[in-house]
Amino acid sequence: MDQMTLNVRTAVVRVDGLSRRYGATRALDQVDLTLERGITGLLGPNGAGKTTLLSILATVSEPDAGRVSAFGLDPRDAAERVEIRRRLGYLPQELGYHRHFTVAAFLDYVAILKEITDRRRRAEEVARVLAAVGLEDRARSRIRALSGGMRQRLGIAQALLGSPDLLILDEPTAGLDPEQRLRFRELLSGLPGDPVTVLSTHQADDIAAICPQVVVLLQGQVHFAGTPSELAATAAGRAWAAGERDDRAHLSWRGGDNRWRHIGDHPPAGAELVSPTVEDGYLMLSHAAGGR
């Protein structure tokens, strides 16, 4: 699946033949994608190239080959790159903070860097995103006093400043507790303006819950692009439930009901065929690509 594209209703971001190497390591290899308005989940194991792809989409780094276009703008051109950034919200995977800033002061500072220069509008924006991530009561707290989860929400809040058209979130749910994850899903689902949202995650259930589109990136290449149900369908007829472990399965694990779930081509003895999940589909793809 070298050249996979989402056939979309509104393609806004297009990636053509994108490649990026770090020394001998090929992080991205001829990636083609078009992204539409709405949420696209990016799944892949560690080292698959997700963060590299997102940082290129965020105009933070440049590809060795290939091109990106967002809103018809080419980030290789300085002026157009700035214009893309004016429409961008980005949460890097590893984000430090100015820990001596207060939460509100930090967001205000980021808002200025996002060229929201009107003070009143900036204050409104800060209040809006703080409420969106549930940190309104911590506005005056120093960032160093926040828990890891709160800092992650603050990172999401800064990405939402200015109601970006292109929202790139690299593992936004890392560090969030279950309730916060649910609130995050609610937040993303209700974003005004239906922005192009790309989020990378290891949480397949997050993808299944909120992403109409999903891309699986393995070893720097796009191995799947489609809906979550289509991804789940790739494991159709190959997900089983049984009372015993079967060594022929690609993957086996005991579930909460004390039964073994198997992903593989051969049904174990006495096994019962079950409906595949997004996770099953992802695991099948990963296995097929030699990722496991």
Partner: protein, 587 residues
């Protein structure tokens, strides 16, 4: 949704012109106005952060302390005080440099470079914001300047402040901040700012190694000693305008360097190159201006003021005493009159020759290396010869002189200075000022002469100095007179006021007897003195006779001890070391 072969997606309403791959001009039109507002917005955040930073606050306090120490020890002469206030700005500048470096390196230090790189505000815009945000250091600089000015004024300032010198101090702080930003854009580690601040101070710490006018090229020369000894401002010395220009050039160049490291656009880089090309010659021109010699006409005028003060000084006669002061120093008159009048009021009869109290510039306070830099050796020799003819170089029994800039503005040092003036006036009254002894020679010693304790007693009653200023050193110092060690006395307050004249070296015996005299009613002592005043002035009238006339016992004088450092004054020595013989005072 199906996977396809990577064909182009269709543009749709509400989405920019995606299909042709080009953005409409309206999208990419980058508003300068937006960028300017972003810079100002950043500056509005950075400026208060800088103003409230602990580093800037520490710099303000430390700079204030430096200014206080430098001003408190000097006569408040504006032509010197302005530079001393600037020394505080140097300290503030060092901390502002460190704070600015921290701000400029903040994103990298806090692992936020990726996020910052995704913002429309470019690194160049941010750097410009930091640079404009240096305005946050200006209030601290102005507070330092204002507080220093208030202190100088409150202590009775002489002269008027130089706006150029004071402004140069503020520009120094801004230039230091710009250097800090230039460092921070390249080196994010806090240590880089600390090293930068120390390097900023290094030229000052080694300025004593520089020769000639090179002194003025360092960020700020703290001590400026010589200035405080001049009788007025000297045009072109120090070269304040050149230094202001140098600092402004450094600020510009540092800003250019900071921006050059962050700006990407060809036009912007071209503009920076032009700014850099402007800054370097400005600095060079300023350096040349500072290295230029002080104009000959100015130095001629100064040397005349020093060698022949009468040509410029204003003289006033009060209570038959003549006071001659340089223009602007008139407010010192009352401070001088009080102790002199206090003595004269108790003296039964004055010497025939009236007393003159004047001001001089002591030749030893003039440092050729800096003042006469760039002039021919012949000219310098001529000037030096003139300077050596200043009035205090001639022995006089009826005059003494105060060095310019040494008169304290207040506090305990002023009390000491008052006592010293009173003591010298009393020495004149009892004819102890020698017409035969050059001030540079060994002073005479009034060994066992009654007029010595009388002079000390007169000075004590005229000024009532604190007891701490009148202690004797218990025989630690002595002079040799006729091969006999005589314990000497110098008031513990020291030579405050820097009085130049042919004054004698006083003895412990005289001091102790004077102290005993103060235990008697003043009226009783005055009565004894008034009756036979001429007798008491005779050099052969002994301490014992005075004690007997007053009905008090002669105090015992401590024997010279065998340890202790010598005070380093002519004729004085540490006991036990060989020294020259001192003459006995004669009438």
């Amino acid at each position: 949704m199906t996977a396809t072969g990577g064909g182009p997606a269709l543009p749709a309403a509400g989405t920019a012109a995606l299909a042709d791959g080009h953005a409409p001009a309206s999208l990419i039109a980058r508003s300068r106005d937006v960028r300017l507002r972003t810079v100002l917005g950043l500056a509005r955040v950075e400026a208060p952060l800088l103003a409230r930073s602990l580093l800037a606050l520490a710099g303000l306090i430390a700079g204030g302390a430096v200014v206080w120490v430098l001003i408190a020890t000097m006569q408040p002469l504006w032509w010197s005080a302005g530079w001393r206030i600037g020394a505080g700005q140097l300290i503030l500048g060092m901390t502002v440099l460190a704070a600015a470096q921290l701000a400029a390196g903040r994103a990298r230090r806090d692992s936020m470079t990726d996020l910052y790189a995704s913002f429309p505000a470019t690194a160049g815009t941010r750097t410009l914001g930091y640079l404009v945000g240096l305005a946050g250091a200006v209030p601290a600089s102005l507070v330092l300047l204002g507080a220093g000015a208030v202190v100088v004024q409150a202590r009775g300032a002489i002269g008027s402040p130089s706006v150029t010198v004071l402004a140069a101090g503020v520009v120094l702080v801004i230039a230091a901040g710009a250097v800090g930003i230039a460092i921070g854009t390249r080196f994010a580690h806090p240590l880089a700012g600390v090293i930068g601040a120390l390097l900023m101070f290094l030229p000052e710490a080694t300025s004593h190694l520089s020769s000639g006018a090179g002194l003025w090229l360092v960020p700020w020369d703290i001590l400026q000693n010589q200035l405080g000894n001049l009788p007025g401002p000297l045009a072109g010395y120090p070269p304040a305008g050149g230094h202001l220009l140098e600092l402004a050039g450094v600020a510009l160049l540092a800003g250019v360097v900071a921006l050059a490291m962050t700006v990407r656009g060809a036009w912007a880089r071209g503009g920076l190159a032009v700014a850099g090309v402007v800054a370097v010659p400005v600095i060079a021109f300023a350096a040349v201006a500072q290295l230029s010699p002080v104009p000959t006409t100015e130095l001629n005028h100064l040397v005349t003021e020093i060698a022949d003060p009468a040509s410029v000084q204003h003289c006033t006669t009060a209570n038959d005493v003549r006071y001659c002061l340089y223009p602007g120093f008139g407010r010192d008159l009352l401070s001088l009159e009080a102790p002199v009048d206090g003595v004269l009021a108790r003296v039964p009869a004055r010497p025939g020759q009236a007393l003159t109290v004047g001001q001089i510039v002591a030749p030893q306070d003039i440092t050729n290396e800096y003042l006469f830099y760039g002039h021919s050796q012949q000219q310098v020799t001529r000037w030096n010869a003139q300077i050596m003819r200043e009035p205090a170089s001639v022995p006089s029994a009826s005059a003494f002189y105060l060095s310019v800039g040494r008169w304290p503005a207040g506090g305990g040092r002023l009390a000491d200075a008052h006592f010293n003036v009173a003591l010298t006036a009393a020495e004149w009254a009892v004819r102890l000022l020698s017409p035969d002894t050059l001030p540079t020679e060994q002073p005479c010693v009034p060994v066992d002469q009654a007029r010595e304790p009388i002079a000390i007693w007169l000075a004590i009653l005229a000024t009532h100095p604190p007891a701490s200023g009148l202690q004797n050193d218990g025989g630690m110092t002595a002079v040799e007179v006729h091969n006999t060690l005589v314990p000497t006395w110098t008031n513990a307050g020291g030579p405050v006021g820097q009085i130049n004249g042919s004054a004698p070296q006083l003895t412990d015996a005289g001091y102790l007897l004077a102290k005993a005299m103060t235990s008697l009613p003043e009226q009783k002592v005055s009565q004894v003195l008034r009756g036979t005043w001429a007798t008491w002035l005779n050099e052969h009238t002994t301490d014992a006779r005075l004690a007997a006339a007053l009905g008090i016992r002669m105090p015992s004088v401590p024997k010279p001890s065998l340890a202790g450092p010598g005070p380093g004054q002519p004729g004085l020595k540490t006991v036990g070391q060989p020294g020259p013989q001192s003459p006995v005072c004669t009438s």
